[in-house]
C-alpha cells in the first residue's frame, strides 16, 4: 500500500461515514419571524410533565401544559386555567372557577372533569410532591358553574402555592383516563392547553415548539416558534449565547466563570428574577448522628469557620448570596431576627476548645469524611475549600468521590458524615423547608427527606402549627421562632442562596414574568427587533 491509497482511505473515511443526518440538518426556517432560540440541558427524557418532574422536562413542557394559577414575583397567585378562586373563612375549602373557553391542543374542550382527573387519579400516582399535598384533601369535587372545590381535612396555609404547572399541570382525561399512564402512546405527543404546541423533536439536536393558534387568549402568544437546542457542552453553549445563535439561556447553562463575561456583552442582559419560587439554599450537609457532629457546638464552629462571601465570590463567581439560615430571603416568612455566624476563626476554635476536643501534635482535633457531590466543578472546588477552611480549626477532612447513584445511596441511607445538598423551597416553608427538619420526615432510603437526622420537638410543633393555619400573622410569628431555633441548633451548614439569573438577548422582552422564570409559559414573551 502506498501513500495514495492511504489518502484515499482518509477521504473515504470522512465521506462515507454514517453520521446521523441531524448533524447536518439545521432546523428548517421558522414559519413566522418571531422566533426564540434557547437551550435545554441535558436533553429531557420526556415532555409528558405529569410523569417526569426533572428540570429539563419542566423547562420545555411548561409551555405545553398549564396549571390553575401562576405566581408573580411576590409569590401571589395570578389567574391561568382558573379565572378566579376563593378560600372559605375556616381555610378548609378552596374553590376554583375554571375557564370554559379552553381547548386541548387536539381540539377537545377542557372541562372540570380534566381537573378532577388530574387531582384524584393521575398526579397522586405519578408525582410524590403532588401526592403529599393532594393527600391532605378530604374531597375534590366539581360543582355547578364550572367550579372545582378542594375540601381539606385540616387547614393548610400554603395550599394556594401548589397549583402552578410544576406542581399541578392539568392533564387530558380523554387521553389518559383508564389507561396505564407510563406506557400511554400519547406520551410521545404531549397534548396540553398551553400557548405552545410540540411541532417536532429531533433527538440530540433540538425541540421545536410552535404557537398554539387556538389559544384561549386572543393575540397571545406573541412568539411564533421556540427552539430548544440541545448542546451538550458548556463551552459550546456559552459560544452560542455569545454569537447570538441562541437568545435565551440560564446561569446553569454555562460555567459560572463564563457567566460574568457573557452578562457584560452588549447584546445580552442579565435578568435577576424568576427564581423566587425555587429559591434553593445550598448547605453543608452534616450527619447529626455522627460523633462530635451531633454536638451543636461543632456545627456552630463549622459555620464560623467558613467564609460564605469567599465561596460566593470565588466558587460561584458572584452568582448567589451568602445564606444565613434555613429559609431563603425570597421565600415567604424569611426573618432576619436570628443568630448569625460571621466568619470568625477565633470563635470557632473557642467552641471546639469548650467541647474538650484538643488538638494532637499534628494540630488535628478530629477527622471527617466528606463526600464530593458528582455534579460538576463547583462542588469539587467547594469541597476543596471546605477541607482547607476546616483545617484552620483543627479538623482534617478526607474527600471521597463517588458517582451519582453512590451519592444518592449514601445520602438517603445516612451513610455519610459530611457532604453538600440543596433543595428547592417552592415559595413557602411548609412546602420546601419543613421536610428537611421535621422528625416525621426522617425516612431512610428517601432523598430530600430529613437525611441529617435532626430532631427537635419544639421545631416540629411550630412547623406543624404554622402549616395548619391561614392566619398570616400567626404564620409569620411561628416561622420566625422556627428560624431562631434552627439558627441556634445549626443542624446544617447553610452556605449559599443559589441564584439562577437568566441571560436574555436585547431582542427579547417580557420573557420572565413569573416567579418560575424560564419555567413560565412564555405567553407574554415578545421578539422585538
Amino acid at each position: 500500500m502506498d501513500r495514495r491509497s492511504f489518502n484515499k482511505l482518509l477521504v473515504g473515511a470522512l465521506g462515507a461515514s454514517a453520521f446521523p443526518l441531524s448533524w447536518i440538518a439545521s432546523p428548517a426556517s421558522a414559519s413566522g419571524e418571531r422566533v426564540i432560540n434557547t437551550i435545554v440541558n441535558p436533553e429531557p427524557a420526556t415532555l409528558m410533565i405529569g410523569l417526569n418532574q426533572q428540570a429539563p422536562t419542566g423547562l420545555v413542557a411548561s409551555k405545553i401544559y398549564q396549571g390553575l394559577v401562576r405566581y408573580d414575583f411576590d409569590l401571589n397567585p395570578m389567574p391561568c386555567l382558573a379565572s378566579d378562586w376563593s378560600v372559605s373563612a375556616d381555610g378548609l375549602e378552596y374553590t376554583f372557577t375554571i375557564r370554559d373557553d379552553v381547548l386541548w391542543h387536539d381540539g377537545t374542550p377542557m372541562t372540570v372533569h380534566d381537573v378532577i382527573f388530574t387531582a384524584t387519579e393521575f398526579l397522586p400516582q405519578t408525582n410524590p410532591r403532588s401526592r403529599l399535598i393532594l393527600g391532605k384533601c378530604a374531597s375534590i369535587t366539581a360543582s355547578e358553574n364550572n367550579t372545582v372545590t378542594f375540601r381539606l381535612a385540616a387547614p393548610f396555609g400554603p395550599f394556594l402555592l401548589a397549583f402552578d404547572a410544576s406542581t399541578f399541570p392539568v392533564l387530558p382525561a380523554h387521553l389518559y383516563e383508564g389507561t396505564d399512564f407510563r406506557s400511554n402512546p400519547n406520551n410521545d405527543t404531549p397534548i396540553g392547553t398551553g400557548p405552545f404546541k410540540l411541532a417536532e423533536w429531533v433527538r440530540g439536536s433540538h425541540i421545536h415548539l410552535v404557537r398554539n393558534e387556538d389559544y384561549y387568549i386572543d393575540d397571545k402568544p406573541y412568539v411564533s416558534d421556540i427552539y430548544y437546542r440541545i448542546i451538550p457542552d458548556a463551552a459550546s453553549r456559552a459560544l452560542a449565547l455569545e454569537n447570538g445563535t441562541v437568545q435565551l439561556g440560564q446561569a446553569s447553562d454555562v460555567e459560572p466563570m463564563d457567566f460574568g463575561r457573557l452578562a457584560a456583552l452588549p447584546n445580552l442582559t442579565r435578568i435577576d428574577r424568576g427564581y423566587e419560587f425555587s429559591a434553593p439554599i445550598l448547605w453543608l450537609e452534616i450527619n447529626n448522628r455522627v460523633e462530635h457532629l451531633s454536638d451543636r457546638r461543632m456545627r456552630q464552629a463549622i459555620m464560623h469557620a467558613m467564609d460564605r462571601n469567599f465561596i460566593v465570590d470565588n466558587i460561584f463567581f458572584g452568582i448567589g448570596s451568602a445564606a444565613t439560615g434555613p429559609i431563603n430571603t425570597r421565600t415567604k416568612y424569611y426573618s432576619e431576627n436570628k443568630r448569625v455566624y460571621d466568619f470568625d476563626l477565633v470563635a470557632a476554635n473557642q467552641l471546639l476548645d469548650n467541647m474538650g476536643l484538643t488538638a494532637g501534635a499534628d494540630g488535628i482535633r478530629t477527622r471527617f469524611d466528606l463526600i464530593v457531590p458528582p455534579f460538576g466543578e463547583v462542588f469539587a472546588r467547594l469541597s476543596e475549600y471546605t477541607r482547607q477552611a476546616l483545617r484552620q480549626i483543627g479538623i482534617d477532612v478526607n474527600l471521597v468521590t463517588t458517582d451519582v447513584a453512590g451519592f444518592a445511596s449514601a445520602l438517603s441511607n445516612w451513610d455519610y458524615q459530611l457532604t453538600f445538598n440543596y433543595t428547592f423551597q417552592y415559595g413557602d416553608p411548609a412546602l420546601g423547608v419543613a421536610r428537611t427538619y421535621i422528625t416525621d420526615n426522617i425516612v431512610q432510603g428517601v432523598l430530600f427527606s430529613n437525611t441529617a437526622g435532626y430532631s427537635n420537638p419544639d421545631v416540629d410543633a411550630r412547623f406543624a402549627a404554622a402549616e395548619s393555619t391561614i392566619d398570616e400573622t400567626e404564620r409569620t410569628h411561628l416561622y420566625e421562632q422556627v428560624q431562631q431555633l434552627l439558627a441556634e441548633d445549626v443542624p446544617l451548614g447553610w452556605l449559599v442562596e443559589m441564584e439562577f439569573p437568566a441571560l436574555q438577548a436585547n431582542s427579547l422582552e417580557d420573557v420572565i414574568t413569573t416567579a418560575t422564570g424560564l419555567n413560565g409559559d412564555f405567553e407574554n414573551a415578545r421578539v422585538i427587533g
Binding site: M1, D2, R3, F6, N7, L9, L10, A13, L14, G15, S17, A18, F19, P20, W23, I24, S26, S29, N37, E43, A45, T46, N52, Q53, Q54, A55, T126, N127, P128, R129, R131, L132, R182, R203, G204, R229, I231, P232, D233, A235, S236, L239, A240, T245, V246, P374, D403, V404, A405, G406, A408, S409, S412, F424, V443, G445, V446, L447, F448
Partner: protein
C-alpha cells in the same frame, strides 16, 4: 480459499465465545457496584418516595433475582437487544448507534491521518537522514510521544481556537447556521481537524519512527542497491520498493493502534465535546446507567475484535508470509 474460510470460521467461533465471556463479566462487574439505580432515577426527578421507587423497580425488572436478570441479559444480547436506558427511556442500542458514527468518523480520521503524516515524516527523515529535518522530525516525535493527548488537545484549543481563532474549539458543527450539503461537509471538516489531530499525534510519532527505521534498513538491501545501479528513478525506488519493504512494521502496529483508538477517543471526545461513544461512556458512568454501560462495554469490545480481524486480514494481504494464527 479453503484456508481463508477455515480461518474465518475459527475467528468467528472465537469471537462469539469472547463476546459471551465479555458479556458475562460485564454483568458481574456491574452487579458488584454499590448504589441503587431505582433510587437515582427517583431522586433525579426532584422528589422521591417509596411508592415511586417500587414502581421503577418493577418496571425495569430490578425486583427479579440476579440469576434471572443474567439469563435475561445474555439472551437479549444475542438478539442484539441491549435493553433500555432508564434515564432516557430509550433503547440502549439506539443511543449507541447514533453516537457510533461520530466516534468512527473521529477514530477513522485519526487513524488515516496518523498513517499518512507518520509515513510522510518517516520519508522526510530518511531523505534528510542526519541533517536538520531528520533531527526536527525525531525531536517532534519524541515530544508527541510523551505528551498526554488530552493536554495536547487543550493546548491546541488554546492556540488555534482561543488565541488565533482559526478553528472551532468544540462540537461537530456550527449551530444554527444553515448549510448546503457541501457547506455542511466543510463545516464538519473544520470541526474535525483538531480532535482528529489530537487523537493522531501519539501514533504520528510512532509511525514516523517506525518508517524511518524501516526505510533506513531497507535502503541497505541488495535489491535496492541493484535498482539504483540500474538507474531506476529515485521516486520509483521509494514508492515501489522501499515503502513496501518498510511498511511491514507499520502495518503490524496498525492492529494494535486500532484497538487503542477507542480508549483514546474517550479522552479526546471529552476535551472537544465530540458527540461520540467516548463521551457517552463517561456520561453513562456519572449517571450509573447500567444498561447503557453494559451496552457500551460490549459494543466497544466487539469493535476492537472486529478491528483486530480486519487488520489481520490486511496483514495477510500485504505479506502472505505472515501466518498469524487465529
Amino acid at each position: 480459499m479453503k484456508a481463508t474460510l477455515s480461518i474465518a470460521l475459527r475467528w468467528l467461533v472465537k469471537a462469539i465465545l469472547f463476546v459471551f465471556v465479555l458479556a458475562s463479566l460485564n454483568f458481574l462487574l456491574i452487579q458488584l457496584v454499590p448504589g441503587d439505580p431505582a433510587l437515582v432515577f427517583a431522586g433525579s426527578s426532584g422528589a422521591a418516595d417509596q411508592q415511586m421507587i417500587n414502581q421503577i423497580r418493577a418496571e425495569f425488572h430490578l425486583d427479579r433475582p440476579v440469576w434471572a436478570q443474567y439469563i435475561d441479559y445474555i439472551l437479549r444480547t444475542a438478539r442484539f437487544d441491549l435493553g433500555t436506558s432508564f434515564q432516557h427511556g430509550r433503547p440502549v442500542w439506539d443511543m449507541i448507534a447514533e453516537r457510533l458514527g461520530a466516534t468512527l468518523l473521529l477514530t477513522g480520521s485519526a487513524w488515516g491521518l496518523s498513517i499518512a503524516v507518520g509515513v510522510a515524516l518517516g520519508l522526510v527523515s530518511m531523505r534528510y537522514v542526519g541533517r536538520w529535518p531528520d533531527m526536527l522530525v525525531s525531536s517532534l516525535a519524541l515530544f508527541l510521544y510523551a505528551a498526554p493527548s488530552f493536554w495536547l488537545g487543550l493546548i491546541f484549543v488554546l492556540v488555534f481556537s482561543i488565541w488565533l481563532g482559526w478553528l472551532p474549539a468544540f462540537g461537530v458543527g456550527t449551530i444554527g447556521v444553515e448549510h448546503s450539503m457541501l457547506g455542511a461537509v466543510l463545516d464538519k471538516l473544520r470541526h474535525l481537524i483538531l480532535p482528529a489531530l489530537t487523537l493522531a499525534t501519539f501514533y504520528i510519532a510512532i509511525y514516523a519512527r517506525l518508517m524511518r527505521g524501516g526505510l533506513l534498513a531497507v535502503a541497505q538491501l541488495d535489491h535496492i542497491k541493484t535498482a539504483r545501479a540500474k538507474g531506476v528513478p529515485q521516486i520509483r525506488i521509494v514508492t515501489h520498493h522501499m515503502i513496501r519493504g518498510a511498511i511491514l512494521p507499520v502495518v503490524t502496529y496498525l492492529g494494535f493502534h486500532a484497538t487503542t483508538l477507542i480508549s483514546g477517543a474517550v479522552l479526546v471526545e471529552t476535551v472537544f465535546a465530540w458527540p461520540g461513544l467516548g463521551r457517552l461512556t463517561f456520561d453513562a458512568i456519572l449517571q450509573r446507567n447500567y444498561p447503557l454501560l453494559m451496552g457500551i462495554l460490549l459494543v466497544t469490545s466487539v469493535l476492537v475484535i472486529l478491528l483486530n480481524a480486519l487488520t489481520d486480514l490486511l496483514l495477510r494481504a500485504v505479506d502472505p508470509r505472515t501466518g498469524v494464527s487465529a
